[in-house]
């Protein structure tokens, strides 16, 4: 096999660029900005060969790199991607560009550190999706939290300490249990942290259940599954726009990715045994949280709750153990990334002008910002799962996967068609429609060219995915089929 290091580039290029950006002086704003944008764009460009050279028919991992890291414990710097991780790497690298552009004029304090934090975070997150060694995965998985803490802590709102403690506590338990599970598997796999070897192990059901629960403790928090979701609304409210974008678009997905990469293939029997629990939690998330979203007064909290609700579809789809369910959950993750980015950027656009996110402070915005209103309409419809937008693809496929398993799962999930439209359109009505309600709204100015640019990019993505999802599904079939085989095998 030819030597290639695209995966290493995708991790280390943004981290190096981030370090360079951190070194720039506060006075030379322009240099900081151009260097950050350059770093983000270059980091995205190096991931494109992954798509171009990806073989959608090959089974197993591609672009594999392996270098011994800590020989004493047989820990390796071991990277590789399949059809599932491919899309998350592309997505993450792309989102970083949007985050840089979104912070362009808005961030006034510690600009260099802000941009650096996002670039470094981007590289570390790619590491999560590319690691094939459990310790390497663990390091990346935990290390991504540092930039996120900094982002919330330094550029966050007044309640950031509370939000961070919550996040911290949730994560603490999960991480330790996951690490313990890794160590157990290390011995079982004959002193190896190779994730693929973990997947080939035959473990007894009680052991599988314990390991499943240990993973669950970590991934459920990250994926903000009900009832481990309450850190998310608080973290969102306190985080600056860029932080919210990364939290919703990427961080949540690392948890769901964990279920796909670890829980299902390593503990398939436990996954089946406990699927009732997982399905229940997912459906509670879809419906309960949609109702909670309905009554939120803060726009960001509303979108945060809607994220939890949409993530309910992701976990529901995963535990259907069929092609439609799992492909649907991957599609839903990608779509939710687009939609939540769009929503948080739009709230950012309003917040930058009015410095409030209270729904009641707005009304009649369409009179002053018609172009913005049109953008937000489209994003709201994508969030409500309108066919033709990306939002439809994932939910539709998951519902089809669910109906094959049990009609009532589909009934409960499909009820989101009503509630998902209710909370987002009710918010839209109160913020955008009506007469201009106060003098602040009367002074609003419509989106600038920079804002139009990043919103238009997401519009293109939302439509591209909504009208031609085949582009994505054709590359994930092989990996999903393999995953289904692994997760249906009885191991004990």
């Amino acid at each position: 096999m030819n030597f290639h290091a695209y995966l290493s580039f995708s991790i280390w290029l943004p981290i190096i660029m981030g370090c360079l950006v951190a070194l720039t002086e506060h006075e030379v704003r322009r240099l900081t900005l151009s260097l950050s944008l350059l770093g983000a764009v270059l980091s995205f460009l190096v991931t494109l060969p992954l798509y171009a050279q990806f073989s959608s028919s090959a089974t197993g991992m591609q672009f594999v790199e392996m270098v011994p890291w800590i020989k004493a414990y047989n820990i390796n710097y071991y990277l590789g991607i399949d059809g599932i991780s491919l899309w998350f790497v592309l997505l993450n690298s792309f989102v970083t560009i949007l985050v840089v552009i979104a912070g362009w004029v808005v961030i006034r304090t510690h600009l260099a550190q802000y941009m650096a934090a996002f670039l470094i975070s981007s590289g570390l997150i790619n590491g999560i999706f590319e690691s094939l060694d459990a310790v390497l995965f663990y390091v990346f998985f935990e290390a991504t939290l540092i930039p996120m803490f900094l982002i919330i802590g330094m550029w966050g709102g007044p309640q950031r300490v509370y939000a961070s403690i919550k996040f911290f506590l949730y994560t603490l338990m999960g991480s330790l249990l996951m690490l313990a599970a890794f160590i157990y598997l290390y011995f079982e796999a004959g002193r190896s942290f190779d994730i693929l070897k973990f997947q080939a192990l035959s473990l007894a059901l009680p052991v599988q259940i314990l390991i499943f629960l240990a993973f669950f403790a970590s991934f459920a928090v990250k994926a903000a599954m009900w009832p481990f979701h309450t850190w998310l609304p608080d973290a969102h409210v306190e985080a600056p726009t860029g932080g919210s974008v990364i939290l919703a678009a990427i961080t949540l997905k690392t948890g769901a990715y964990g279920f796909l990469r670890f829980s299902l293939p390593i503990t398939p029997d436990a996954s089946h045994t406990l699927s009732g629990l997982m399905i229940t939690l997912s459906l509670v998330a879809v419906l309960y949280v949609a109702l909670v979203a309905l009554i939120q007064k803060d726009m960001k909290k509303l979108i945060a709750y809607s994220s939890v609700s949409h993530m309910g579809f992701v976990t529901l789809g995963i535990f259907m153990f069929n092609t439609l369910g799992i492909e649907g959950s991957i599609l839903q993750m990608i779509s939710h990334a687009f939609v939540s980015i769009a929503m948080f950027l739009c709230i950012g656009v309003l917040y930058d002008r009015m410095h409030t996110r209270d729904i009641s402070a707005y009304g009649g915005v369409a009179n002053k910002m018609p172009v913005f209103a049109a953008f937000l309409m489209l994003f709201a419809m994508a969030s409500a799962g309108l066919p033709g937008t990306s939002g439809f693809v994932g939910e539709f496929t998951v519902i089809l996967g669910a109906i094959k398993v049990n009609f009532w799962y589909a009934v409960l999930a499909a009820a989101n068609l009503i509630f998902g439209a209710a909370y987002i359109l009710w918010m839209y009505k109160r913020v955008i429609f009506g007469e201009v309600v106060n003098s602040e709204v009367a002074q609003l100015e419509d989106v600038t060219a920079r804002e139009k640019f990043f919103l238009a990019i997401i519009v293109v993505l939302i439509f591209a995915m909504g009208l031609y999802p085949q582009l994505i599904t054709s590359t994930i079939h092989t990996s999903v089929n393999q995953l289904i085989q692994q997760s249906s095998a009885i191991k004990y």
Partner: protein, 651 residues
């Protein structure tokens, strides 16, 4: 040019128009914007004519354009099915849309959202065409929701009005309730037929029709009945059947041209079209068709009653639309799908005509919609008057106007049905004829005859609308007069629909019509002696007596009919129930879940309880200041510590 590209042109031409007017509207200006959209729809109409000619020469088409998605062994496509049913809908949609586009030039000429309006109605035309031309359930659902979106945008077109943005949210959500059922129906079809292509699904019906589904353990239902009822719930939302009808009267908050196009002629008939398209499925479930029959009949009669007490001219026409959709639904229940489509077509013409005529009146009256402030308008609006008269006679079913043929056929069809509920349906649609005639001519007389009740200023400015408004009225009046007579021959007596509609010979209620009548004149002569016509005439006479000759009587009747009037004026309390119970109940449930679930239980007890315990413990451990990185480093080190310890324990 190949036929496939011609098919493609039909939906794409309006889409191009919509994009140009929507994205570049400000640059292009008003005139270019309306020109490109009108040309788009005109092209679409002409192409539809050419396709119709081709179809009736025997060239049907069923093919895919591209593969939308594959998942597992399933694939989803975007494609067209071109057959007589499709072209009928294409012609109705593009013709009415063209009329409405032209009309809008006059009606909306001084509205600041002029270009946006044209963009929306062209976008609607695109979505509606994709819906009717689809060859599979997925694309049907696409079009289904897309027309719902445009309807939402257009009801809330005047977004500063709080009533308009209330109405559009309501319309969207009520339609979503229908779509919820529809989507589950589609899901069950995929799960049991392993395809969403019409042709594949229909061909598999014989294998699947006896399957059962267990929804609650121990009870099983016929799978086909469950699927058909779920699909019909979708139709109930879009075609506004009770109890999902509540959004349609409120949708009158939108500008009048869209009331004609979307909320009378085309979108609301999507449900009727869908059930006809699915006739191979619905034919195997008597239970589902009984449900359809009863719901349609109830809508036909009870919504007609509400038309009687309205004063807003548009609301009268709106309730009349609800009632007429009920008639079409009854025809579906009676397995008379061709009759339902026939009535759909004639209704599209005369109801669009009535709405546009109402719009012409409203335009002349400076946006006054209350009929109590109108009267005697025939002098001022002669063209509107004549065309509205044609529309009203067609709606009442007076021969030889279009509505006579299609409505009489529905009454005939239901009398031949043996389903459970057919007797009730027959009573409802027959009685409905009288009520329809009464409210229609009540509206007609209150508007065009009697005392001139408008204020002095309005009266001075009264004048007939410009040609862009009257021309569509005239062009719609022609089919309202002739379509019934001309089309009953081929559509009902001939084999117009061919294979596009499947009717089980045992349910066929039309064969006696085919045996009895060979030409439209014979049908008409027979109708002159029948009960429905005399009910219609009595309705008109009663309206004339009450509103032309003794205009004081109605107020007295209203004062005397306390309870009934209260029930009617509250729309049978549907809105009350939805608002007080469903919508407030949901919001209050959301508040409770948030307060007691998230805030108290999860955060208060679980998270912060743990936090307090841990911080008590941690306070003893830490002397350094608290920082997040510090916390974090602590765990990392702790983790490594555990790792090392285990390493040593295992040796």
């Amino acid at each position: 040019m190949s036929m496939t590209s011609l098919y493609l042109i039909v939906p794409m031409a309006p889409l191009v128009g919509a994009l140009l007017a929507g994205l570049l509207g400000k640059t292009l200006g008003k005139t270019i914007s309306h020109t490109v959209t009108i040309i788009g729809v005109l092209v679409s109409f002409i192409a539809s004519l050419a396709i119709a000619q081709d179809v009736f020469a025997g060239h049907l088409f069923n093919g895919n354009l591209y593969t939308w998605m594959t998942a597992g062994d399933l694939s989803f496509h975007v494609g067209f099915l071109i057959d007589p049913l499709t072209v009928t809908m294409m012609l109705v949609v593009t013709f009415v849309s063209l009329m409405v586009h032209i009309y809008t030039v006059g009606y909306m000429h001084d509205d600041p959202g002029y270009q946006r309006f044209f963009s929306y109605i062209s976008l609607f035309t695109f979505a509606m065409l994709m819906l009717v031309m689809s060859n599979n359930f997925l694309q049907l659902f696409f079009g289904w929701e897309a027309v719902g979106l445009v309807s939402y945008l257009l009801i809330g077109f005047w977004f500063q009005r709080s009533t308009a943005v209330f109405a559009n949210l309501k319309a969207f959500l009520v339609n979503r309730v229908g779509d919820f059922g529809f989507l589950l129906g589609i899901g069950l079809i995929l799960a049991n037929f392993h395809s969403l292509d019409y042709a594949t699904v229909f061909s598999m019906v014989p294998q699947v029709m006896h399957n059962e589904i267990t929804l609650i353990s121990g009870h099983s239902w016929s799978l086909m009945t469950v699927i058909c009822i779920l699909l019909f719930i979708g139709a109930m939302g879009k075609s506004a059947q009770m109890p999902l009808h509540v959004w349609l009267p409120d949708s009158m908050e939108g500008p009048t041209p869209i009331s004609a196009l979307i909320h009378a002629a085309t979108m609301v008939t999507a449900g009727i079209f869908m059930v006809s398209r699915m006739s191979p499925l619905f034919e195997v479930s008597d239970t589902a068709r009984s449900v359809i029959l009863v719901i349609g009949a109830s809508t036909a009669l009870f919504m007609a009653f509400l038309g009687v007490i309205q004063y807003d001219i548009k609301r009268v026409v709106a309730y009349s639309t609800l009632s007429q959709l009920g008639y079409m639904t009854v025809a579906l229940g009676a397995s008379a799908y061709p009759v339902a489509i026939f009535h759909l077509g004639t209704h599209a013409f005369f109801k669009a005509l009535l709405f546009l005529a109402a719009g012409s009146v409203i335009h002349a009256m400076h946006h006054e919609q209350d009929m109590r402030h109108m009267g005697g308008l025939r002098k001022y609006l002669p063209i509107t008057y004549i065309t509205a008269l044609i529309g009203s006679l067609a709606l009442c079913g007076i021969p030889p106007f279009a509505g006579f043929f299609s409505k009489d056929l529905i009454i005939d069809a239901v009398s031949g049905s043996h389903l459970y509920g057919a007797g009730y349906a027959q009573f409802a649609v027959t009685a409905g004829v009288f009520v329809t005639a009464f409210y229609t001519f009540r509206m007609f007389f209150m508007t065009f005859h009697g005392k001139e009740r408008m204020d002095h200023h309005t009266k001075e400015h009264l004048h007939e609308s410009p040609l862009v408004i009257t021309l569509p009225l005239i062009l719609l009046a022609i089919p309202s007069l002739l379509a019934g007579y001309l089309l009953i021959g081929p559509m009902i007596m001939g084999d117009y629909f061919g294979t596009s509609i499947v009717i089980d010979p045992q349910h066929s209620v039309l064969h006696h019509i085919r045996e009895e009548f060979t030409n439209p004149t014979g049908f008409m002569v027979n109708g002159l002696m029948a009960l429905p016509l005399w009910l219609a005439v009595s309705g008109i006479v009663l309206a004339a007596v009450l509103y032309l000759f003794m205009p004081r009587i109605p107020e007295k009747i209203k004062a005397q009919s306390g309870v009934i009037y209260t029930i009617l004026s509250n729309n049978y309390y549907f809105d009350w129930f939805n608002d007080r119970v469903l919508s407030r109940g949901t919001v209050s449930l959301g508040k409770k879940l948030w307060r007691y679930g998230d805030v108290t239980l999860i955060d208060g007890t679980m998270v912060m309880g743990t936090a307090r315990t841990i911080s008590r413990f941690a306070n003893r451990l830490r002397h350094l200041q608290s920082g997040y990185i510090y916390h974090y480093a602590f765990i990392m080190i702790f983790g490594v510590f555990v790792l090392m310890s285990l390493w040593f324990i295992r040796g």
